[in-house]
């Protein structure tokens, strides 16, 4: 037993978090910033934060994650980090030559009250920002929200580049939220099949799934450009995928640039993808081509073919709110039962949405925001499940309780492929089904007594 000290009996904890289902804001901001072409993320704080965020992102994406830090020592912590950031901006533009530096704060620089806008302004006045280059910033204190909030804050900073009154350009902004580079690529493909010209931001495809060629590019070819970001104010509309990850940026564009926005769920699974396609064609005023109907029909076909293995199966799932909401809806579409659902990210609305999605289950859902995986494990001990879904940290629970385990979410440290194979859209749905089915049937094959072990299932 790996988690041998986790008791079945649940006692109330108010202060001690054990095995978190979230991490801190800056890593989200760093990931989002990597979705801008030619951008070097910069962590304004002591250097350990940056090292940890780079390590975790590297382990998940299996790609180089370049990011700089203000390297605070005690002096900066007492007298403020302005001198460090000014020096950093100068060094970064000289040595690495990015198009843009995306600065985010840490709990350290937030607590001492460093003002990013004022420092960036000073850097500009002092000529430390070369002509045509930019420094953008987002506040991301680690003691507020989670990595999801940090992602959202940096995406909002990207939206804020848009200038009100930009000429209409006939494009649609799509904010994909924290999904894999492969998912971003798939969203772009879907939009192109539907025939809608979109600006996707952030866009880590091509950045965090770059080819191996013998050449190292600190700034790979992918990513949304600064020009495209400035142009988002001229879009005919914005689709924000995910309330937690994307809505703030979309609402800002709506109120400041009069670009109307629709907040949708992330397009995981059948129904959420349906809504995404439907709104996309409505906003752009186009007819959905038959190719999409075919893709959709294939997903429905596989659900119908495999329904017997999904029906009634109980699932425990943890991760980030936007992903969980769509995944729980998909599980319900398969007649599976997400019985334990937790996220570490705060937000009461999450619990309401999950309850709404699972209202037709024959049993009640255990759902909690601001929770941790220790709690989830205890729930599982009290009411076992047939499948566990979440990031790599779930493997300890899965092994101890002997549960088939689908790695999905962030971070996945011990498997690969997520950066190349999407799980959004109808094709992503097919991949999720294939994986879930494989897990359930592998388990069946393992556990079946010899006399009922059969070739055909």
């Amino acid at each position: 037993m790996l988690l041998r000290h986790t008791p079945t009996e649940i006692t109330e904890r108010k202060s001690l978090m054990i095995n978190p289902a979230k991490t801190c804001q800056p890593i989200g901001a760093m990931y989002a910033a990597l979705g801008i072409h030619g951008c070097l993320p910069h962590s304004h704080g002591s250097q350990g934060c940056c090292a940890y965020h780079r390590s975790t992102l590297t382990r998940h994406y299996k790609e180089p994650i370049s990011a700089a830090t203000s390297s605070f020592t005690e002096g900066a912590s007492v007298f403020g980090g302005q001198a460090n950031l000014l020096q950093a901006i100068d060094n970064i533009f000289t040595v690495y030559e990015p198009e843009v530096i995306a600065v985010h704060t840490t709990c350290l620089s937030e607590t001492i009250g460093d003002d990013l806008k004022q420092i960036a302004h000073k850097a500009e006045k002092e000529g430390k920002i070369p002509e045509g280059k930019f420094v953008i910033g987002a506040p991301t204190p680690s003691y507020v929200g989670s990595h999801v909030t940090g992602f959202s804050n940096m995406v909002k900073a990207m939206a804020q580049l848009a200038t009100p009154g930009t000429k209409k350009n006939g494009k649609v902004n799509v904010i994909p939220g924290w999904v894999e580079p492969s998912d971003m690529e798939e969203i772009k493909r879907l939009a192109s099949v539907v025939g809608v010209d979109i600006t996707l931001f952030p866009d880590t495809s091509g950045v965090l799934n770059a080819p191996l060629t013998g050449e190292y590019k600190m700034f790979p070819d992918g990513g949304v450009t600064m020009k495209e970001l400035k142009d988002t104010g001229g879009a005919i509309g914005t689709l924000a995928l995910g309330e937690w990850c994307s809505a703030d940026a979309a609402r800002w564009l709506d109120s400041k640039c009069k670009v109307p926005c629709t907040i949708l769920d992330m397009p995981f699974g059948l129904n959420a993808t349906d809504r995404f396609i439907d709104v996309l064609r409505t906003v752009a005023g186009v007819t959905v081509p038959e190719a999409i109907d075919v893709e959709r029909g294939q997903l429905v076909d596989m659900i119908s073919d495999m329904h017997q293995y999904f029906y009634g199966k109980k699932v425990a799932i943890y991760g980030d709110p936007d992903q969980l909401i769509s995944m729980c809806e998909f599980l319900r579409a398969l007649d599976m039962q997400p019985v334990h659902v937790i996220t570490g990210t705060p937000g009461k609305e999450f619990e309401r949405r999950i309850k709404e999605i699972t209202a037709d289950m024959p049993c009640e859902v255990n759902v909690k925001a601001k929770s941790d995986m220790f709690q989830l494990h205890q729930w599982i001990k009290n009411e076992p499940v047939d499948l566990l879904i979440g990031n790599s940290y779930g493997k300890y629970i899965a092994r101890d309780e002997d549960i088939p385990f689908l790695r999905w979410g962030f971070p996945i440290l011990d498997r690969q492929g997520h950066q190349y194979f999407p799980t959004v859209g109808y094709k992503g749905g097919l991949r999720l089904l294939e994986k879930i089915l494989g897990l359930l049937l592998d388990r069946k094959d393992r556990d079946e007594p010899e006399e009922s072990f059969e070739l055909v299932l």
Partner: protein, 545 residues
Amino acid sequence: MTKTTKMVQWSPTDIKDELLKKYPPKVARKRAKQIMINEAVGADTSPEIVANVRTIPGIITMRGCTYAGCKGVIMGPTRDIVNIVHGPVGCSFYAWLTRRNQTDAGKDGENYIPYCFTTDMQDQDIIFGGEKKLEAAVIEAYELFHPKGICIFATCPVGLIGDDIHAVARKLSAQYEDCNIFAFSCEGYKGVSQSAGHHIANNQVFTHLVGENKTSPEGEYKINLLGEYNIGGDGFEIDRIFKKCGITNISTFSGNSSYDQFASAQHADLSCVMCHRSINYVADMLETKYGIPWIKVNFIGARSTAKSLRKIGEYFGDPKLIKRINDVIAEEMPEVEVVANDVLPRTNGKTAMIFVGGSRAHSYQDLFAEMGMKTISAGYEFAHRDDYEGRHVIPSLKVDSDSRNIEELTVEADEKYFKARKTPDEINALEAAGLKFKHYEGLNKDMDNGSIIVDDLNQYEAEKLVEILKPDVFCAGIKEKFSIQKLGVPMKQLHSYDSGGPYAGFKGAVNFYKEIDRLVGSKVWGYMKAPWQKNPELTATFVWE
């Protein structure tokens, strides 16, 4: 990738100039002192290198922070202590199982390594102070688990808002007599690298744990193994060898360690130091307070392992032990040599670069040498000058403001428990016979003249070095892995070993030979260019057209 341009006309001075060329003048001046061309071989004194100084803001560094050194490195691999990180969630999350510290739960079955504990501070805790939350969290941990020890770690904001974590620890330690609760002021901004965190951790372990267990563990030839963290199971292999030799390792600092091991360290008769940087001062303190001499050992590399075992045998001077050690070496080496001879034709003459830690960049050179591979450039992520130049420079090290923040313990001989393990005459005789105590010559002396030694290497310099010298393998950490590999050069992690390990001891050497053979021989590095990219000028048409 063809290596036709390998090791060409670049002189060491040209290389250094190339590394510095792009920096703004102030940065270049500073880095120039941290990049040295080695001239240590044969000389009595080695040239001075600047180390343990602040990282330059904006320069993409390999370094982490003090908290990472304290919680991640030193206390992370202790299994039966509940480590609670007081701060926002991130710091605890990132140090959760990411360093590949293996452990077994022992006879008592206590193992908290797979768990991550944090107070998950929120903005109201930052505004109003987090001491109450910390106190409640420790109580919750105690009531859930009843561990022998609870350690508390401070993160950046905790130091800023002034939470007195030590007062909380003292209060609760008095309240729960069966649980030793103490704290570490290891805020990330202290010091200039992880090294400060090692120091803070070791000092507190020495103050609060060492000496607590008054009963001496059973066994012959009792030693402490200092600076071994059981990455990828290294400690397991070293312990296997010790056991076979009849040496009793009573405490490892701190791989697969337990509360009782730390608490019994004062009963050892010899301390063996693996990672000099992370722990040499603990060895000194054990000697001053309890009379335990220390020697430097290296269990990375089969020949180094044999040498280190013989050193231990020499120290105890018992013919029975010496014979057993020699028998074990004779028994273990043939298998090692079979694999070494197998890989040698493919690895001999190849080159490596190593930029890790504060000792490993040195220790691993022996292992590479066993495969006929030369380390052409190396350096440390968080070393001090003595790690490069040898211990004799320690008295001359300047204490700057960043080091002054880190507490130095002054210890004296313990009135009751000090016992000199050897008389001065015995020590002198052993030294005359060639056994060196408290001795470490540093990295420079073991590297070729003219090789490039770089302190606190950064991403830009790493990329340049690889482009210029084209090593066959590059060793660093996870952050460096993929940028190096994009250049078509295999990268081996020596902080957490990628998927491999153990690499210590005899079986470890075999693992490492095979791993490096795989890396330098992998076909994948030949796939960088597609056929049409290799011959782009080809324009002839096929017959069927």
